[in-house]
């Protein structure tokens, strides 16, 4: 793996030499995120979000471990134990709000990371495995976030659990027994809360493991870049450290500023008032709404209102919702264009931005109650979502005529700088 001109780890100190012989852990780090990893020199700020997602995962794990020291996973006292953290635990309010908003910040950076990949074609050969592992991480994140939202055992926790586990009852014949088996009862209760807590503690470490595979798979071809042209020689690259550690350090600062502003100034902005009411199986909230990061998928779920081809509308919705994520696994083969970056794909670029608008529309539909005009908008939005990936993208990648491309990363960089200097000269 890596490029022939990658710097080699040469320990200077006797202790590090000794360590490197017995267990080459410093060498591993040096080659992964140190000077031993050559990275294209032309990465823009959209390449910060991988590191930021890693930082968000670390923050979630650390705050989560502390919360678990004070939280009680029992349906009788779970809500009280969260209020105990908010009122009586030293800085408990900070840890809990950081964890709560940390989930949102994690999803924000991961969504930007995913759309970066879509715009710059990062999912294409030779990086298909990086993309596939990324989709696995995204699925694990969704499961973890859902189970975490159940733990405070408020009204939205309970009814969210009711709705999500209800997906399984859409499966013909065996659906209802599967749902009861997964929940450990006929409705979410103590058994469900305990297993959700157990899995909510487990899955972040599974995510961390898949992140290691994600980075490992990335290091075989090396990082992509905004031109989509592969690295050709040493002058196309810079060592990760200090160049990108410095840039990521600055990105991390900006990320933390936004995170802190949200956590300290408006911690409940992205939450829902109903979750400050203790869970009550006898009282259904007027609108059951998931957290914002699930809104687009919730809209797809609810868009199917017709029993098409003798399949129940509810089952259509559940299949479509899972399919909307599962189709991402096939993306590297749905898009056959050899050109990666949208910079040189005039037609795909248009449809990319339409997709972004479509996902925002679906998000809005998922937030709003199931009334018109939101129902028809979600139906149109969901139809476009599937059309984009399964119909438009394969056709566009076949008929599109890409723009002329530079020969190398260095040539692109030098052309950009020549352009700006001549522009300033004429001004």
């Amino acid at each position: 793996m890596s490029f022939p001109w990658a710097k080699n780890y040469e320990p200077q100190q006797p202790l590090m030499k000794w360590l490197d012989e017995k267990l080459p852990l410093p060498r591993l780090v040096y080659n992964a995120v140190g000077a031993g990893y050559p990275v294209p020199r032309n990465l823009n700020y959209f390449w910060n979000f991988g590191v930021l997602a890693g930082a968000a995962l670390a923050i979630q794990i650390i705050t989560g471990i502390v919360l678990a020291m004070h939280y009680a996973a029992n349906a009788g006292v779970a809500f009280d134990s969260v209020e105990h953290i908010m009122r009586d635990v030293n800085a408990g309010w900070f840890i809990r709000y950081a964890h709560m908003n940390g989930a949102s910040m994690f999803f924000i950076v991961v969504y930007l990371h995913i759309f970066r990949g879509l715009y710059y074609g990062s999912y294409k050969a030779p990086r298909e495995m990086v993309w596939l592992l990324g989709v696995v991480i995204f699925l694990l994140m969704m499961a973890t976030a859902f189970m975490g939202y159940v733990l405070p055992w408020g009204q939205m926790s309970f009814w969210g659990a009711q709705v999500i586990t209800g997906f399984f009852s859409a499966i013909p014949v065996v659906g209802e027994p599967i749902r009861v088996w997964l929940l450990g009862g006929f409705a979410p209760d103590n058994a469900a809360l305990n297993r959700f807590f157990s899995l909510h503690y487990l899955l972040p470490f599974v995510i961390a493991g898949v992140v290691v595979l994600h980075i490992w798979a990335l290091h075989i071809p090396g990082s992509s870049n905004p031109t989509g042209i592969e690295v050709k020689d040493e002058q196309d690259t810079v060592p990760f450290h200090p160049y990108y550690t410095a840039k990521d350090g600055f990105g991390l600062g900006v990320f933390l500023i936004l995170f802190v502003a949200l956590t300290f100034f408006s911690p409940n902005l992205l939450g829902h008032a109903d979750n400050y009411i203790p869970a009550n199986p006898l009282s259904t909230p007027a609108h059951i709404v998931p957290e914002w990061y699930f809104w687009p998928f919730y809209a797809i779920l609810r868009a199917f209102t017709f029993n098409f081809l003798w399949i129940d509308a509810k089952l259509w919705g559940v299949i479509a919702m899972f399919a909307s994520i599962a189709l991402l696994f096939f993306l590297p083969w749905l898009d056959s264009s050899p050109v990666k970056s949208s910079k040189y794909r005039p037609l795909y670029r248009i449809f990319f931005w339409v997709l972004v608008a479509d996902v925002f529309l679906l998000g809005l539909c998922g937030k709003m109650p199931a009334e018109q005009p939101w129902v028809i908008l979600s139906q149109i939005g969901a139809a476009y979502y599937f059309a984009h990936f399964l119909i438009i993208l394969p056709i566009v990648s076949r008929i599109e005529r890409p723009l002329p491309m530079p020969n190398s990363i260095t040539e692109a960089v030098l052309a950009k700088h020549a352009g700006t200097s001549s522009a300033s000269a004429t001004a």
């Binding site: 009280d80 160049y243 933390l256 300290f264 868009a303 096939f330």
Partner: protein, 269 residues
């Protein structure tokens, strides 16, 4: 192989959605209550915004309103007597305030249920022993716990304040099915317009030691401020801690930006 199969799958979803589009009615079922429902009125408190502080005199008045009016039906389960030291009471005042309440206990000699004087470590005692007792006393309605009420309702403090001052006679054109039934009271700020709680406040109901105004609006405002505090006693501390953390991060980020520019200074990218 992937592309033709994907095409068919995509077509399947799209046709199912087109069928859904043409079979779903485009009009919503009319909801008469919407026309009479009012948006909450804004109430400005010193704990709002980015530079908050607690108005301790106001919170003390609000607690008096809670104690003399609301606590007849509503519990305050998450607030302990010791917490009210934050409202500007001395240790002695907290102790004597706690002592003015009787809390459930056990007779140390017989083990029988008993009551004793409250201690600072006790929570505010609930007015009813359990949900059944609460419903029995309130026409089968359950008065919610107020500890978190300003965080647990859409609209928060604005909603609570509007609800407290919003009781009125039903408008003349109110459809029959929306008229308040027996034991219900019309309030346009309540989601379904009619609620079991009778107007709780009347002008002059509570007399404040500092002679502050005690009309319905003033008392509603005071008790709202108090319930913002009970919902999040760490609110003011939270915002000011946020400023300190933000200042630190701005300096940190400024330094990292300079380091970044310095390292990349001679590298075109």
């Amino acid at each position: 192989m992937v592309r033709p199969l994907g095409f068919l799958v995509g077509l399947g979803f799209i046709v199912a959605l087109l069928c859904a589009i043409f079979t779903t009615p485009l009009t919503n079922e009319p909801q008469a209550a919407h026309a009479f429902h009012k948006h909450p009125r804004h109430i400005a408190l010193s704990s709002d915004g980015l530079f908050p502080h607690w108005d301790k005199a106001k919170l003390q008045r609000g607690m008096q309103v809670y104690k003399e009016v609301c606590s007849a039906c509503h519990s305050l389960n998450y607030v302990a007597f010791r917490d009210i030291a934050e409202l500007g009471y001395t240790e002695g005042q907290v102790k004597s305030f706690a002592k003015s309440f009787q809390v459930p206990s056990i007779n140390p000699d017989t083990g029988e249920p008993a009551t004793r004087d409250g201690l600072p470590s006790d929570r505010f005692p609930a007015p009813y022993a359990n949900e059944v007792a609460a419903r029995a006393a309130n026409n089968n309605a359950l008065p919610p716990d107020l500890s978190l009420i300003t965080k647990a309702r859409e609209g928060g403090k604005d909603y609570l304040y509007s609800l407290l001052i919003g009781f009125e006679n039903p408008p003349k054109n109110l459809p029959k099915e929306l008229q308040p039934g027996t034991g219900l009271h019309y309030n346009p700020y309540f989601p379904n317009l009619n609620l079991a709680m009778a107007p709780p406040l009347a002008d002059g109901q509570v007399t404040f030691a500092d002679g502050s105004p005690n009309d319905v609006k003033a008392m509603a405002s005071d008790v709202t401020a108090f319930l913002v505090w009970t919902a999040e006693p760490k609110l003011v501390k939270r915002v000011w801690t946020g400023w300190a953390v933000l200042l630190y991060l701005l300096i940190f980020t400024g330094l990292t930006y300079m380091a970044y520019r310095n390292i990349w200074a001679n590298k075109e990218h």
